[in-house]
Each structure stands twice: as C-alpha cells, then as structure tokens.
C-alpha cells in the first residue's frame, strides 16, 4: 500500500458499515428464532431464497409489486405456521443440536421446493432504487446501501415496537427469557413459536429482497447466511442490538482488513477474518457484546 489517504479510509469504513447493515439484516432473523425457541435456524438462508424467489416470480408473472409483497408475506406466514406444526412441535425439548440438524433438513426442503415451484432460472430484481453513487467531501457513498440501511432501521424500529409495546412482544420476551416459566404461567408456546417464525419469515422477505437486488435472485442467495454467522458469534445469538452492532463491526473490520491487510497475504481474507475477529473478541468477552448473561446470572 502506498501513502495513507484519509478520505479513502473513511470511504472503506463507510462502505464496510453499510455492508454490515446487510449482514445484520440476516442475523436478526437468526436472533428472533434463537431467542424465543432456542433453535439455531440454519434454514434462514433457505427462507430468504424462498421468499425472494416467490416474490420475484410473482412480479414476473405480472402481479403488482405491493400485491406480490403481500402475497409473499402471506406465504411466509403459512410457512412459519407449517414449520412450527411439523418440525418444531414434535421436536420440543430435544437437544439444541438435534433442532439445528432439523433446520438443516428444513433448508433442503425449502431450497428444493422453491426451485421446484419457481424453477432454477436466475432473476434480476429491481427495487426502483437508482444506484448511482454520490460523493460527500470526496467520500463515495452508495445510494442503494443507504436505502438498505434505512429499510433495516425501519424494520428494527418496527420489531422494537412490537417487542416493547405489544402483548405478543411481551410474550416473546417472556418465552425468550425462561421457556419453562412461560409454559407454567400459561403462555401458549406453539402460538408464540408460530408467531416468531412468521416474524422470521418477514425478516427473511425483507432481507431477501434487499440481497436479491444486490445479487440477483438465485440459489446463491441462501449462502448469505455465512455472512451472518460471524455477526452472531460477535453480537450474541440472543440480542438484536448485538446483531446490529455486531454487523456493523464485522462489516467495517472485514473491509478494512481486506483493503489494508489483505495485500500482505495476497487478499481474499474476508472469508475467514471476520470469524477470527469475532473469536478474538469472544475470547476476551465470552458472553459476546450483548449477550444477556449479566442479568441472567445476577
């Protein structure tokens, strides 16, 4: 690397943070499900693919944008209920690893049916955002990424509202806190789990559309989960603020490392440096950034 250019540094940093928002979007879907049901849902990526593929296929068949969105949302809701009925309920109280494996099986089913239903074609997806970059003080910023960040912020605000201000949100938090106690006080866990999976489906749809606009809607969409995993390691599996801050940190670190350190080892280090960074942080703070151990162990 030649001499240090501060504007470029800021550009990389901002770009990294905005990419981080995209990672956080996927991570939030994991957190929702893990927090309330203890299931590490590896099928989140497949749900993303399923949602985006359903949406884009509907749009290509001439369904108006808004209607397609609603229909897809309804499909994801049905899917959430079906998953609760057929996968989660029979597996209640099984060890976490068994549930994790079941979601791997679920990922197979979802990927298979998405492609069987809608074909293996690669689709383009335009959300109507003109992605021309603009430049502030010599720092280039992508308008699409800003839009994505705004959507993510809106979604998080909506989730925060639901969690803090509604009965179902309170029930979510109670179940997340102590599942056995929630059962004992008479909360209907199946209903709450269905609701959570519906919420995860909603997050998958939003994330699927934003990622789909970046990658095109195709099978590889299911691979974006790999970008979310280090975020989870860093931010904690059970914390939405953790997912957001973790996403931002991972995004920024990954980009800065690739640009400034990658050159020394030949580049392409993004695939693993996020994990190493997350691990490094974890070894110092085993509870993660926002894990709720503090309250739990009081």
């Amino acid at each position: 690397m030649t001499n240090f250019d501060p504007a470029f540094f800021v550009e990389v940093l901002v770009g990294g943070l905005l990419s981080g928002v995209m990672y956080a979007l996927v991570a939030i879907g994991f957190v929702l499900v893990y927090k309330t049901s203890g299931v590490f849902n590896f099928a989140q990526g497949a749900m993303l693919l399923f949602a985006a593929l359903t949406f884009v296929s509907l749009v290509e068949k001439g369904v108006p944008f808004a209607l397609a969105f609603l229909v897809t949302l309804a499909v994801m809701a049905l899917l959430g209920i079906a998953i609760e009925r057929t996968v989660l309920r029979p597996l209640v109280n099984k060890p976490p690893i068994t549930l994790f494996m079941a979601t791997l099986g679920l990922a197979y089913v979802l990927e298979g049916s998405a492609q069987l239903l809608w074909g293996t074609q690669v689709h383009g997806l335009e959300l109507g955002i003109d992605d021309k970059p603009f430049i502030i003080h010599g720092v280039l910023i992508s308008s699409f990424d800003l839009f994505a960040a705004a959507v993510a912020a809106g979604m998080v605000a909506l989730l925060a509202f639901v969690f803090q201000r509604t009965r179902i949100g309170l029930a979510f938090r109670a179940v997340a806190d102590d599942q056995f106690a929630a059962l004992a006080v008479g909360l209907r866990l199946p209903v709450i789990w269905s609701a959570v999976w519906i919420a995860a489906g909603f997050v998958a749809l939003i994330a699927g559309l934003l990622w789909g606009a970046r990658l095109g809607v195709q099978f590889s969409l299911s691979l974006v989960v790999l970008k979310a995993l280090p975020v989870l390691v860093l931010g904690g599996f059970d914390s939405i603020p953790g997912a957001i801050v973790g996403g931002l940190l991972i995004g920024a670190t990954e980009k800065l490392a690739e640009v400034y350190l990658g050159g020394y080892v030949g580049g392409g280090i993004e695939s693993w440096c996020a994990y190493v960074f997350a691990l490094g942080v974890l070894l110092i703070r085993p509870q993660g950034l926002f894990g709720q151990r503090l309250v739990e162990r009081a």
Binding site: F40, T86, V87, P90, L91, K94, P95, P96, I97, T98, F100, M101, A102, L104, G105, L106, A107, Y108, V109, L110, E111, G112, S113, Q115, L116, T120, L226, L229, P230, L232, V233, F237, V265, G266, G268, I269, S271, W272, Y275, V276, A278, L279, L282, L283, P286, G288
Partner: protein
C-alpha cells in the same frame, strides 16, 4: 445426550471379538466376492472415508461434547499434508506420510480447539467455521500446497505399503478398510479407557468433572487432537482412495455438515452409529436417485427428480430426528434386542444403566 446404549454395545449375544471377527470376515472375505468396480469406487470408498471421519467427529462431539462444523477442514489438512510429505521427503514410506499427515491434522485440531477452553455450545460450533474457511483459503492461496499446480489440485500418489501396492478399486478398498478398522478399533478402545471416561465427564458436566479431578483443558485439547488425527486420515482416504484428485474446495462446508449429519443420524456417542449413518447418507441418495430415474425418468427431467429428492431427503432427516432422536444405533439395538429377546426370552430386553 447421555446414552445408555454405548454401555451395552458389547453386551449382545456375542462377545466383542466375535463381532470383530464377523465384520472382518464379511469385509475382507465376502464383500469382495459380491462387489463390482461400481460398488468399490462409488459406494464403498466414500462410505469408508466418511465413516472414519464420522468416527473422528463422534469422539469430539458425541463423547467430548464439542460440536464442530470444521471437519472438512481437517480432512483437507490431512489430504494435503500427506500429499506434501509424500512428495517432498524422498524415500519416505507412504505409511509414514499418512501418519505424519494425521499428526499435522491433530496439531491443527489443537490450535483450533483452543477456543473450546472458553466457548461453549453454538459459539464454539461457529468458531470452528474459522478453521473451515481459513484452511480452504490457505490451501487455495498458497500454491506450494498443491506443488504449484496451476489448477490447484493434487493427485493421489500410488498407495504402496511395505512394498505391497494397493491399486485398482479392490486394492484401494482393502487399504481404506484396513485403515478404518484399525482406527475404529483404536477409538473403541480409547472410549473405554480413563481418557474416554474423562471425555464423557467433561461433556456431561464440566464443573463436576473438574471437581472430581479431570484435567478439563487437557482433556478438551486431547479430544480435539485425537479427533482431528482421525478426521485427517479420513481426508487422506477421501482424497487418495476415493476421488484420487481433489481441490481445496472439495472440502467445503457442505462436507462438514454431511459428517455432522452422519453422527446425528447414526447416533451420538456410539461408534457403530458413525458407520450406520455414513451408510445411510451415502446410499440413500443413490437409491432414491436410481429409483426416481427408473420409475419417473420418462416423465420428468433429472432436475425435477433431483429437487424432489432433495425435498425428500430433507423431510426424511426431520422425520428421523423426530422418530428416533438417538439415531440409527439406538434403532439397531432396539431391533437386535427385540430379535434376541424373542430368541432368549429370559434375557431382559433392556437394562437401565443410568
């Protein structure tokens, strides 16, 4: 995760050596009479390699309680290390290349096992992904590992042990079989020693284990080392006895998941489960694919069939986890006990050994 079944593995109608003898006779004597090249190369070779990897992972996950999503990385380390030892040290017997490669993988296992000293559960599982991605990256990045092959692939050297060449489908089968049986016997022995009991103690309750004097850190690292050693050698079988040409990407995350699948489906903390699981994972897709092609090939193209198959396999996995969470090994024992229970009605069908 506690398993009442492993305690009685060897408590069937026959003593342990009887089973071993039986397996040996079948594997060395009867299988070759029936097997074709297709069976050797497309079924038995991947079955043996994956079984061994599953045995290795089962030591770590089933017995010592640490979930790993990085098995394929250790397979890759084993395969590429063996290739390089064989290539770069003139006159080194092949068997020593294999051994050194296993030790290299064990070393990696210890390094990437270090986080287990502080992390647990899924945090630990995801931290093993660091190993997965790092190894894949490093093997692709540095040409030295593949002897500057412009395509980044390594080719299997001829397998010669003590002057005896193991070539051709059946030769490779005998080589893989021998390696798998030796290492499985070693693993079976290990889990019945104090070390093995330490593994289980650490898995069941780390604090309790520490109180009764189990060296927890040492035990965890030892589990990582032994497991990686075996998985590394499984990688050699995969690369040299099965595919014979591999690239780093062949050891990707999907393979790691596949091995984890095998031990979950087969049954955690049973060595038999590793073999049953591998059999299912290798054979089931083949059977489905063939039956599908045969029955429906005329009506649908291979894509539709394969997607249906994918759905079916995913659904089977879920159903299986629901119906038999303890895995095929438990199913096996239940079936066996029912069978023998009918034969010798005085024998109790199952004893609780908790």
């Amino acid at each position: 995760m506690t398993n009442a079944y492993d305690a009685q593995q060897s408590r069937g109608l026959l003593p342990a050596w009887g089973y071993l003898l039986g397996i040996g006779v079948v594997a060395y004597g009867i299988v070759p009479l029936l097997a074709s090249d297709y069976v050797y190369d497309a079924i038995l070779a991947p079955f043996l390699a994956l079984s061994l990897a599953a045995v290795g992972l089962n030591l770590l996950t089933g017995y010592a309680g640490q979930v790993s999503l990085g098995s394929a990385a250790f397979m890759a380390v084993g395969a590429f290390a063996a290739y390089n030892f064989n290539l770069r040290i003139d006159g080194l017997p092949f068997i020593l290349s294999v051994l050194f490669a296993g030790l290299t993988a064990a070393g990696f296992g210890v390094v990437f096992g270090l986080p287990s000293l502080r992390l647990k559960g899924f945090y630990l599982a995801l931290s093993t992904l660091a190993a997965q991605f790092f190894v894949e990256w490093a093997l692709t990045k540095f040409d030295w590992f593949s002897n500057y092959n412009s395509s980044g692939v390594i080719d299997a050297p001829p397998i010669v042990i003590f002057g005896v060449p193991f070539s051709g489908p059946s030769g490779r089968y005998y080589f893989a079989l021998t390696v798998v049986l030796l290492l499985s016997a070693f693993a079976a022995r290990l889990v019945n020693t104090q070390t093995g009991r330490n593994f289980i103690a650490v898995r069941d309750n780390e604090t309790a284990a520490r109180i009764i004097g189990v060296p927890v850190f040492k035990t965890k690292l030892l589990a990582a080392a032994v497991s990686s050693f075996i998985i590394g050698i499984a990688g050699i079988l995969w690369a040299f006895a099965y595919l014979r040409t591999v690239e780093p990407h062949g050891f990707n995350l999907d393979r790691s998941f596949e091995i984890l699948f095998i031990i979950i489906i087969g049954g955690l903390a049973t060595l038999r489960g590793a073999f049953l699981g591998a059999a299912l994972i290798v054979v089931l897709p083949l059977v489905l694919s063939r039956i599908g092609t045969l029955l429906l090939g005329g009506y649908f193209n291979s894509g539709v069939l394969d997607m249906s198959q994918r759905i079916l396999i995913g659904a089977l996995i879920i159903v299986f986890l629901i119906v038999e969470p303890d895995g095929l090994a438990a199913l096996w024992i239940r079936a066996r006990n029912r069978f023998f229970g009918a034969l010798t009605s005085r024998r109790p069908a199952r004893e609780v050994t908790a």
